[in-house]
Symmetry: C2
Subunit: 187 residues, 2 copies
């Protein structure tokens, strides 16, 4: 990345060309990378909207900080329990549908430079929302709006139309060794 | 991740067992994932120390936000120009050595729950600092201190002793299409 950045340092293009980024894969760091990008954007005075599709009201640490910062709006859908794709509940579909509706309003308003759709890939993979609706939203977004879609199992059609796709590949994970999720680090 | 998290939600283990995390690979999101983890940790009241090994004084957006938050200390080494591994300068070695010394003090003090060593993998790959010194530091760290090492080209010996390793794999990147780095998004 350093070499590419260097080559481009001279061009002071502002983010009037919003791209579509995808963080997917089984490895750690997808939501974290999105949140790091949010902090960077806020540091430049950009406006950010974040939709958590499947996090429910679980007290993820980043919210405690983000909700105190200016220029960033967080909305959260889904339930405290995790979704089991073999036993989808009606309210889970309703929650995901509402999340997509709110995301759609935020994106199409053009008021935000960056909109994060956290775990939307899982919501489409589990068929809580139709992938066609996500594709249409991407196609209809105002040019200047940057989108970040996170979550495992990104649909190939989303990857096809995205500009930047990163797969987080798990090389080694402490859960494999039986170490539990730790507050402040994993959630 | 959701399934593993669910299984572990009942165990309220605090991060008294600090692990060693590595974000490496050619894909986007390594530093961003570290910064997202920092925000999460701060949200839980943890103390964080961040050493930028190779970012120089370049005004990355995340610093504007992080430097205003409590419980986080940022220090930055290296120069504004990027390091060319074929033409290493003495001051680049000196800067990286100072960064490692400051990181070492922060880690061994035990005062911080999380210490981020940003781009340290590149610093070792370019032989600005000896990988043996990094390995020794990992081995000597207080048990409760979590470490995150970022950057391309992570040394196999670091990967070997790390607990959690994620490779960011570039599936698709807009630079490939000739789109430049954009302020607020890439830096």
């Amino acid at each position: 990345m350093t070499g590419e950045l260097k080559r481009n340092l001279s061009s002071k293009n502002k983010p009037d060309q919003g791209l579509v980024q995808v963080f997917t894969g089984e490895g750690k760091g997808k939501t974290s990378a999105a949140m790091g990008t949010v902090i960077r954007a806020l540091g430049h005075g950009l406006k950010v909207f974040i939709v958590f599709f499947m996090k429910g009201e679980y007290p993820y640490g980043e919210r405690n900080i983000l909700c105190k910062l200016p220029n960033v709006t967080l909305v959260s859908f889904g339930q405290e329990t995790f979704v089991d794709p073999r036993h989808i509940k009606l309210e889970q579909i309703e929650q995901a549908g509402q999340a997509l509706m709110v995301a759609r309003q935020a994106i199409l308003s053009g008021d935000y430079n960056l909109v994060v759709l956290d775990e939307i890939n899982v919501a489409t993979a589990f068929k809580l929302i139709p992938v066609e609706d996500v594709i249409r939203l991407i196609q209809e977004k105002p040019k200047h709006v940057e989108l970040i879609l996170t979550g495992r199992l990104a649909d190939p059609r989303i990857i096809e139309i995205a500009d930047l796709v990163t797969e987080m590949v798990k090389i080694k994970h402490p859960f494999d060794k039986g170490i539990s999720a730790r507050r402040g680090i994993e959630y």
